[in-house]
């Protein structure tokens, strides 16, 4: 019991320590793979680092890759604070993306100040409603949200498949919609990179999530339900209301990843455009310890790995898939945080 107390007192540093050590361990194990390929790990990592952080342009690219991951990471983290495991960020971002695209294409002649927010809000509403379904099923019938969020993913994939090849199929041959109106575009911030004003939205989202969770009554209730639903109930907090609310907000956050991709990067809805951004969000939330600020850094790290991968592939013998291995290793070490912690403790003793 007293040992537990000791850990408590150093809680903050421990929360930081495990993710950082996990990343370092993952890079270390990754180095073994690089050696097997016959390259110098230091050289490969140098290339990786320079490509993702070496210049303003590469930093911009890294941030652009990080933007959707911030949204999906926040989404997963937010639901988790209410004790919910939202595996449905991928589906929520697809319906959000589609709703934003439809608004972006259909309305013409609106001023930007109206059209852009309209498209964004349409996406958030769609994503939020999509997530409300598993939320309601959990709250009212006790059906586990993991099952339903996964199921809703498939419905979202095929629904958007249908919409993009059917009613909203654009003029070109490819399975994509027409371009959205310029009035619904998230402006590029640093041409030629595709970094756009979505990153500003992401930062705002981080701040808002932080405020909601720790500075409002709503956050108090949501976290109370996440920690101890029976005590929350005793405190007069409606468990079912907060489950639904947390899912809706989580879905809205996830949808913003899709919205950013459509309005800021692709300029149109493309069938199955997402490289598993929603699922990556789970890893980002895990690495970021479900804290908005942690999510930001985790998303930037994952964005950087992706950005650097191509250069590493081009300039060394190390294939870009190494980055995927490193990501997987990070997740493993964070998930096995007891193991990682023991490794840290042993280090300290020695």
């Amino acid at each position: 019991m007293l040992r537990l107390k000791l850990q408590q007192s150093s809680l903050i540093s421990r929360d930081l320590l495990v993710p950082i050590v996990s990343v370092l361990l993952a890079l270390l194990v990754g180095a073994i793979f690089i050696l097997i390929v016959g390259e110098n790990p230091l050289h490969a990592y140098k290339v990786l680092f320079l490509e993702s952080f070496g210049s303003i342009r590469s930093i911009a690219t890294t941030l652009q890759r990080a933007t959707p991951l911030i949204f999906t990471g926040l989404a997963v983290a937010f639901a988790f604070r209410c004790g919910l495991f939202n595996i449905g960020a991928e589906g929520q971002l697809y319906v959000g993306a589609m709703a934003a695209a439809i608004v972006g294409i259909t309305f013409t002649g609106l001023p930007k100040i109206i059209h852009l927010p309209m498209a964004i809000i349409a996406g958030m509403v769609a994503g939020g409603l999509w997530a409300a379904v598993p939320g309601l099923l959990k709250a009212k019938l006790g059906v586990h949200e993991v099952i339903n969020t996964i199921m809703m993913n498939f419905i979202a994939f095929y629904l958007t498949d249908f919409l993009v090849t059917g009613p909203f199929h654009g003029g070109r041959w490819a399975p994509e919609t027409d371009r959205i109106m310029p009035t619904a575009v998230l402006e590029r911030l640093f041409v030629p990179t595709r970094l756009n004003t979505g990153i500003i939205l992401a930062v705002v989202a981080i701040i808002l999530v932080y405020i909601i969770l720790w500075k409002t009554r709503t956050g108090y209730e949501i976290r109370a339900v996440g920690f101890n639903p029976t005590a929350a109930e005793y405190g007069g907090i409606s468990v079912s209301k907060n489950i639904v609310l947390a899912m809706v907000l989580s879905g809205a956050l996830a949808s913003l990843a899709g919205v950013e991709q459509i309005l800021g990067v692709h300029g149109r809805f493309i069938q199955r455009f997402s490289p598993d951004l929603g699922f990556m969000g789970i890893a980002v939330a895990l690495l970021g310890k479900n804290h908005p600020v942690g999510v930001f850094f985790a998303a930037v790290l994952f964005g950087a790995l992706r950005t650097g991968a191509a250069a590493m592939d081009r300039l060394t013998d190390v294939p870009r898939e190494l980055v995927v291995i490193i990501q997987a290793l990070i997740i493993m070490f964070v998930a096995a945080d007891e193991l990682t912690r023991r490794l840290i403790a042993r280090r300290r003793k020695a």
């Binding site: 007293l2 040992r3 537990l4 107390k5 000791l6 408590q8 500075k215 409002t216 009554r217 709503t218 108090y220 209730e221 976290r223 109370a224 920690f227 101890n228 029976t230 005590a231 929350a232 109930e233 005793y234 405190g235 007069g236 907090i237 409606s238």
Partner: protein, 517 residues
């Protein structure tokens, strides 16, 4: 008599605390040696050192005059030490016999001889009078029986010294009686027992000698026959303790709450509360005595809105509240100390300050503009309550899970009592707490009563019921079998009623108002 076990100058430091400070303890062969002290006094640490779970910083242990070095529980077991922990270490899905042999299975070539296991366990159980069926699944037997399985486990490993860590904390009064019989049987057969507790009554009832620890130090060892309750209490707490709550006779005012023909069924349809009617007056404590599981919790949850009654009414100042959710019930002036502070009463991962507003978090002054937390008000509130109710350590930012049980309970008491509720529902308010904290909470309950609150007190401890209540209702099998003025009843009569005794035939020449009136 010879000493079977000697612990010499044991010292153990944890960061910031000296858990054991130069403790020397002798245990005689074949005695029941009680080890008492308040929570955090170092009893468990000392025994964990003995059992090899902790390493002492300094000090020595001698077993049968030989110095031993107990580095882990396996060594302890091999040396003939057995320990029964407060939280049982049993596999629910296995049978009693399978649990007993776990780790030392009678096996040949990896095939376990189950028949031998069952026979061995049955023989052992009979020898020591530990009634338990070897073939039952552990999940299906009562807590008292599970404890016997733990004792059997130790005996099966040929324990000569048995350490029981607060064994009575989880038992009903009847089960405690049975445990004491078992302990006496073991003693007769030559087993030495170290009995950890913080209940002085139990020490006096069962032990031969008693050692008292306070803040990591041994205060003294006494022959039980030569000491008494007040002396031990003072040794434990370090000052004179009020064993009985001082209170003036109740001044009951008008009826605050009426419970009218409440019926509650649980999810599977079992009739848990049957037609219970009670009136609680302002300025009185109505005790509800009963063996746990006789419908008390269900009744309380129906009153506080956590559960719906199937039929019946709860009136507060004549207005129905039984259809309301918990929040509005609270707002109407009902305070509630829940039975299980970890499950219901606290959010362990929240700070003291955040727990101090649980249930009030949506009201002024703790929120502004319906949404934003008012940190200043939250902290001022917590600071004030921490001082007023002496929560230690007085750090409002500390997570509640790091507080001791007594201080956790003080957080709940502070939160509920500081609103000056008109109707106060206290369920097992002092369970698992040490004397100091119990004394404090009892005083606070009486203070609330004297301020005019109507109080319901549910407790499995008859002492608590008798010392705090003005009237006592006994619940048995979902029914209130009797309501008695406290001065006209006693422990024996209540014990009889709690076990389903007939109210009319209850001993003692008393008038009995039955609940049906």
């Amino acid at each position: 008599m010879d000493n079977i076990l000697e612990m010499k100058n044991i010292t153990k430091n944890f960061p910031g605390v000296v858990a054991n400070d130069d403790i020397s303890l002798d245990i005689r062969k074949g005695e029941i040696h009680a080890l008492v002290g308040e929570n955090g006094s170092g009893k468990s640490t000392l025994m964990n050192i003995l059992y090899g779970l902790y390493d002492a910083d300094s000090g020595e242990v001698f077993l049968n005059k030989k110095k031993v070095d107990i580095t882990d529980p396996r060594t302890a077991i091999n040396l003939g030490l057995g320990m029964v922990f407060q939280h049982f270490m049993l596999v629910d899905t296995l049978t009693v016999a399978e649990n007993v042999i776990l780790g030392s299975e009678p096996a040949r070539m990896h095939f376990i001889n189950y028949k031998k296991a069952v026979d061995d366990v049955a023989r052992l159980a009979k020898e020591y009078g530990l009634r338990v069926e070897p073939r039952s699944k552990v999940a299906d037997i009562s807590v008292g029986q599970q404890q016997r399985v733990e004792i059997l486990k130790a005996l099966y490993r040929q324990a000569e010294v048995l350490i029981l860590d607060e064994p009575t904390a989880v038992l009903t009064p009847q089960e405690t009686e049975e445990l004491f019989q078992v302990m006496n049987n073991l003693k007769k057969q030559g087993t030495t027992i170290i009995f950890i507790t913080h209940k002085i009554k139990e020490v006096l009832a069962i032990s031969d000698r008693v050692s008292v620890l306070r803040r990591g130090k041994l205060v003294g060892t006494k022959n039980t026959k030569e000491t008494n309750h007040p002396e031990l209490a003072e040794m434990m707490v370090g000052r004179e303790v009020l064993l009985r709550v001082e209170k003036t006779p109740a001044q009951p005012g008008k009826t605050v709450a009426s419970i009218i023909n409440i019926n509650v069924r649980d999810r599977v349809g079992t009739h848990k509360v049957k037609d219970v009617s009670l009136d609680i007056m302002s300025g009185e404590v109505l005790g509800i005595a009963g063996v746990e599981g006789n419908g008390q919790q269900e009744l309380i949850e129906a009153i506080t809105g956590l559960n719906r009654a199937e039929s019946g009414e709860v009136l507060l100042h004549g207005k129905p509240i039984h259809k309301l959710p918990p929040m509005p019930i609270k707002k109407r002036g009902v305070g509630y100390i829940p039975e299980d502070r970890h499950k219901r009463g606290l959010i362990l991962e929240y700070s003291v300050a955040d727990n101090m507003i649980l249930g009030l978090h949506s009201q002024a002054p703790f929120v502004e503009k319906f949404l934003f937390r008012n940190e200043k008000a939250i902290q001022e509130n917590a600071q004030k309550l921490v001082e007023e109710y002496d929560v230690r350590p007085p750090n409002i930012k500390q997570l509640v899970q790091t507080l001791s049980g007594g201080n956790q309970q003080k957080v709940i008491v502070a939160r509920e009592f500081s609103r000056n509720p008109e109707f106060l529902v206290c369920s097992q308010p002092t369970r698992g707490l040490d004397i100091g904290a119990i004394e404090f909470i009892h005083k606070e309950i009486i203070r609330q009563r004297d301020n005019g609150a109507a109080v319901i007190l549910v407790s499995a401890e008859l002492d608590e019921i008798l010392s705090l209540s003005d009237r006592v209702a006994v619940m048995y099998n979902g029914e209130v079998s009797a309501v008695l003025p406290v001065e006209k009843t006693d422990e024996r009569q209540l014990g009889y009623l709690m076990l389903g005794g007939d109210a009319q035939k209850a001993e003692g020449d008393v008038e009995i108002e039955t609940a049906a009136e």
